[in-house]
């Protein structure tokens, strides 16, 4: 029990979603291929895959190798041998059915009523073509005709197939006790071996059953015979009493409620098996392989005093050595990990903070092995304001024979704010460099202030200052010196 709880410890919501999503895909595959040969072969492939994995775990090298080969070949065989069935499933399904539709066998259909009508039609030698879709449905094959959605009744059916009636030439579709569609055109079979006694109705019925699992009832106009067509086989019924039994046999059961429960149980069991298989697969991937990994995670400083600024830190990142299941570690991203260090109790100046396991946040299932460095030195400072003089800065060279005798900067001083520690060392703010090479006469320039260090902030109104300079001719030398 303890091992079981250990196995499921550290589950994330992503893992749940992963399992449920894949289980649903598996369940959809089952629903789509239910009743076809593809599903049986797929089951066999899955069984071989399990044998292969077990052989690998037990160290049976050749068995594992053979199974891998067989699975590869079987996969190709499925595609080649069952291409018609696969394409039939793909072609005959709508997108809605692919995603969530569940086909039900004919459950609520009043078979007795259909049988009586069919016998009556045969006796009157009125040709009829009745389609009863089963698990795979026929929506994508027969979209033609007129949508009716009328309650099934003997009179209604007779009326549809009555000679001269507008819809009598096509097929009527019966689903869940309703005539959903009439006058539909069915795809004709290309089978060249069809007996000559069969006409277009039989060929159409055969064509539909080649592409779906539907049951088609054909009433011959010439001979007054009833045929049931299922799975590309034409069963001519000579004894009218057997029609009801055969329809029930093909459409699945005599008691609708019981049949409904049986189908629901089957689907639930299939869903459970899909869920179990996916969970097992996930566990075999995630719990089988432990791995180690290193990540450089940024250090976040929490609860800073609003009056304080972080001036410097000995480290901005810490290297975390973590362990966990390989898929979990591989799926790990930096934003899932964090190191949060509280600045509570710190003061202006240097503060040494220790990074412990409590400061590290990791997703479930990931274990922390080591933190490097596990200490960080943070220098904090408070914001202060100071008034400092402004000094003009120059570059280049004044033209020969000229001398700059005076400068006045306006304003002479500016207010700057910065960390108190930095501010203590700042006594002057300098302007951007003013090029001397082109200055030949006195004038005025407006220049920006250079904020160094970058944390220095001037008042908005002092972003530029005015520098007024006086240039004059250099006086002649008298040659004497002190």
């Amino acid at each position: 029990m303890e091992q079981l709880s250990l196995l499921f410890s550290g589950w994330r919501w992503q893992d749940m979603l992963d399992i449920v999503f894949n289980a649903y895909i598996l369940f959809r595959l089952y629903v789509l291929f239910r009743g076809t040969h593809v599903l049986r072969v797929l089951m066999a492939v899955v069984a071989m895959w399990i044998i292969g994995r077990s052989a690998n775990a037990m160290g049976l090298v050749i068995t594992n190798w053979v199974m891998q080969g067989v699975i590869t070949v079987a996969t190709f065989m499925i595609i080649i041998v069952f291409r018609n069935e696969i394409s039939g499933v793909v072609r005959t399904r709508s997108l809605r059915f692919f995603l969530w539709g569940i086909p039900r066998a004919q459950i609520n259909t009043p078979v007795r009523l259909i049988t009586d009508t069919v016998v009556e039609l045969a006796r009157s030698k009125i040709g009829a073509l009745i389609v009863m879709p089963l698990k795979t449905g026929v929506d994508s094959i027969i979209a033609s005709g007129v949508e009716i959605n009328a309650a099934l009744s003997r009179e209604m059916l007779m009326n549809i197939f009555w000679p001269g009636a507008p819809l009598h030439d096509g097929a009527a579709v019966i689903q869940r006790g309703k005539i959903t569609r009439a006058g539909t055109i069915l795809p004709l079979s290309q089978n060249r071996n069809l007996a000559s006694k069969y006409g277009t109705r039989h060929r159409a019925a055969l064509g539909l059953t080649e592409q779906s699992d539907a049951l088609v009832i054909v009433v011959s106009e010439e001979r007054g015979r009833v045929s049931l067509v299922k799975d590309s086989q034409i069963h001519e019924i000579r004894d009218p009493d057997k029609i009801e039994t055969l329809i029930k046999q093909y459409t699945g059961g005599s008691e609708p409620a019981k049949e409904m429960r049986r189908q629901t149980r089957e689907l639930l069991a299939a869903a459970m098996i899909c869920l179990l298989c996916t969970t097992g697969l996930w566990l075999s991937f995630s719990r089988g392989m432990e791995t180690l990994a290193n990540y450089e995670v940024p250090i976040e400083f929490m609860n800073p005093d609003k009056k304080m600024n972080i001036i410097d830190a000995s480290a901005s990142r810490s290297r975390l050595l973590i362990s966990g299941a390989r898929p979990l570690v591989n799926a790990l991203t930096l934003d899932q990990m964090s190191i949060k260090v509280s600045l509570d109790g710190t003061s202006v100046g240097k503060n040494k903070l220790t990074i412990t396991r409590q400061n590290v946040q990791l997703p479930p299932g990931i274990r922390l092995k080591q933190i490097e460095p596990d200490q960080v030195e943070v220098i904090l400072d408070t914001i202060a304001e100071k008034q400092v003089p402004v000094q003009a800065d120059f570059s280049g060279k004044l033209p020969d024979g000229l001398i700059m005798t005076s400068i006045s900067v306006s304003p002479e001083t500016v207010n700057i704010s910065c960390g108190e520690l930095s501010l203590n060392t700042i006594t002057t703010v300098f302007t951007e460099k003013i090029a001397l090479d082109n200055l030949t006469a006195s004038g005025v320039v407006h220049v920006a202030l250079v904020m160094s260090p970058a944390t220095l902030r001037p008042d908005d109104k002092y972003k530029k200052v005015q520098v007024r300079y006086t240039i004059s001719e250099r006086p002649r030398d008298d040659g004497s010196e002190s």
Binding site: F394, K397, M404, T405, I407, T425, F430, L436, D478, S482
Partner: protein, 145 residues
Amino acid sequence: MPDFNAMIYLYLRSRLLIVCGVVGFLFIPAGVGLADQPRVVLADAVVCERISNFRPVNPAVIFSVSQGEVFCFSSFDPVYEKTAIFHNWYKKDKLIFSMRLILSVPKWSSFSRVQMRDADKGPWRVEIRDEDNNILKTLRFSMSD
């Protein structure tokens, strides 16, 4: 004949003034008075290219490093007592050179100089400070190409 009461009143008032004066004198802090008077008065201070005949030549605010050196000239008038001042030379905010200069009564001029090299280009300032480290004047200039 003077009024006797008026005489008594004048006598008491004069005594009260004496007492107040004595008490007030006791509360005057030491050092106020002559000691507070500055020992020197800065008359002129410039940064210049040369000193000639104890006078600054070509005072300016931009100096080419090709000239080789730059001078800071300061004259004090009057100088009340023999004292010292400092010429502190800063490049940007870093103290590069400090020179102590002795001043003698009744007036005195003195100067300091620095050699200019290529690496010295940039904004400079000279702070003229007295013996008590009070700034008397700050002179700002630049060394250029």
